[in-house]
């Protein structure tokens, strides 16, 4: 019997080592796997490459990871925010490398990795400084930039419900990068609000089939924990 559920956040982090590349899902508050990130910080490893849409807000999540000095490089579309002070400080001090990627190229490159493409010609960024030095091509009258897939060793994502085979469904806009990051990482670790018995998830509505998920850990949502 295959059971991908793990019983602790610590166990969910097993194997992540110095120098790993780690995708982290979430867009704003929605879909941010905060508890997995806390467990990653607790693991006490560094030199990480993080692939995520933002570079952290406030004091939690990716911001805390950066504050703890664990991140060598971040690949993201929107690092600068009102409360991204931990990233800002690390960046200004030269302690963190930034690869700035337009959000659609980020999504498409992650998807390309998951789908096994070697490279893609994308329309976004042509003629801008973000395409400097990159190969370009005019195809059917339109200009494109060649972009490489983004793979990762691990993906940390947050979903709504999961089962022991790793099938996942999401909730509202918390879906965002989860499904494509799950496809692009060697090991995908999903925190879910609830692990349900196999067969409870309707096969028509499963968004991420279990083939893309290696570990599932149940983390009660904060609002439940707060009232518990």
């Amino acid at each position: 019997m295959i059971d991908k559920s793990v019983t602790s956040l610590e166990a969910a982090m097993g194997g992540i080592a110095n120098g790993a590349s780690v995708m982290i899902g979430g867009f704003g508050t929605a879909g941010m796997p905060d508890e997995l990130i806390d467990a990653l910080i607790a693991r006490n490893i560094g030199d990480l490459t993080i692939i995520s849409n933002n570079a952290g807000n406030g004091e939690t999540g990716v911001a805390a990871l950066i504050k703890a000095g664990r991140v060598r490089k971040i690949v993201c579309s929107f690092p600068r925010q009102a409360d991204s002070h931990h990233f800002d400080a690390a960046y200004r001090a030269g302690r963190i490398e930034l690869e700035l990627v337009p959000q659609g190229n980020l999504a498409a490159r992650i998807h390309a990795a998951g789908a096994g493409l070697g490279a893609i010609f994308t329309p976004t960024g042509f003629g801008t400084t973000l395409a400097q030095g990159k190969e370009t091509r005019r195809i059917d009258g339109k200009d494109y930039v060649l972009e490489l897939p983004i793979h990762a060793d691990y993906a940390l994502i947050k979903a709504h419900k999961g089962d022991r085979w790793g099938n996942l469904i999401y909730r509202k806009t918390a879906r965002n990068f989860g499904p494509i990051m799950a496809m692009a990482a060697k090991t995908t670790i999903a925190q879910v609000a609830e692990i349900v018995p196999l067969g409870d998830l309707d096969p028509e509505v499963i968004v991420t089939p279990g083939i893309f998920v290696q570990r599932v850990v149940e983390v009660a949502p904060a609002y439940l924990a707060a009232t518990a």
Partner: protein
């Protein structure tokens, strides 16, 4: 005396150019206000880059669901008939030419429709691009909403952008506090002006060649 459009009037003016049935993405900041002026009885489909189509207004205070947010990370709602999807599909919508109109803010727009809205290029600033480049090149039409002049009185409608570009030849309309412009391969033309402004005034304020708008044939091809 010149009657500037205020921000609400600018938003209402943009909204009046959005037809029923349009799939529309409103950028963060000023463009978000356009949603307030779309007539409720018209089916207009608002897309948000973070994976929803059929975005509705903000929920009442206290009823926010922080897993239902827009690109600006504000709590929103979903209209009946709306749907959720992942980032891959969301940007496929934009980049695949399925969005009819996107409305973006800008630092500068050139008379040929080049857009600069993501980075001032100043030393020491931290760049952030988000989905702006994808929207600019992906939507069938890109509208810009901005004040025409900087606080220093410089025109943001320019012959050639000096700020780093977001996209080339992508903007077709510019809605400002002083005038509405069509821009594109044949240059800039003026669709309308606020009361009290003349085409000559506007030429002086902007310093760019401006013609009178003569219909859609002059707009972006």
């Amino acid at each position: 005396m010149i009657n500037r459009f205020n921000r609400d009037q600018m938003a209402a003016r943009v909204a009046s150019d959005i037809p029923e049935g349009a799939y529309v993405n409103l950028g963060i900041g000023l463009p978000t206000m356009v949603a307030n002026f779309l007539p409720q009885e018209r089916d207009i489909f608002l897309q948000s880059e973070n994976g929803l189509l059929g975005m509705g207004p903000q929920p009442p205070a206290g009823e926010e669901d922080w897993e239902l947010i827009n690109a600006g990370k504000q709590a929103v709602t979903l209209r009946q008939g709306g749907s959720y999807f992942h980032h891959g599909d969301s940007f496929a919508m934009m980049r695949g030419g399925h969005i009819d109109i996107c409305v973006l803010g800008a630092f500068q727009v050139s008379i040929r429709g080049d857009l600069a809205n993501w980075h001032t290029g100043e030393a020491g600033t931290i760049p952030a691009v988000g989905g702006a480049m994808d929207l600019a090149v992906g939507a069938k039409q890109t509208f810009v909403m901005m004040e025409l002049l900087t606080k220093q009185g410089d025109s943001k409608l320019v012959e050639t952008c000096t700020y780093p570009l977001t996209g080339l030849s992508c903007v077709s309309r510019i809605y400002t506090d002083l005038a509405v412009f069509s821009v594109g391969s044949t240059g800039a033309s003026v669709i309308e002006m606020v009361d009290g402004l003349s085409l000559d005034n506007l030429r002086k304020l902007t310093g760019v060649p401006l013609s009178e708008f003569r219909g859609e044939a002059e707009s972006r091809q």
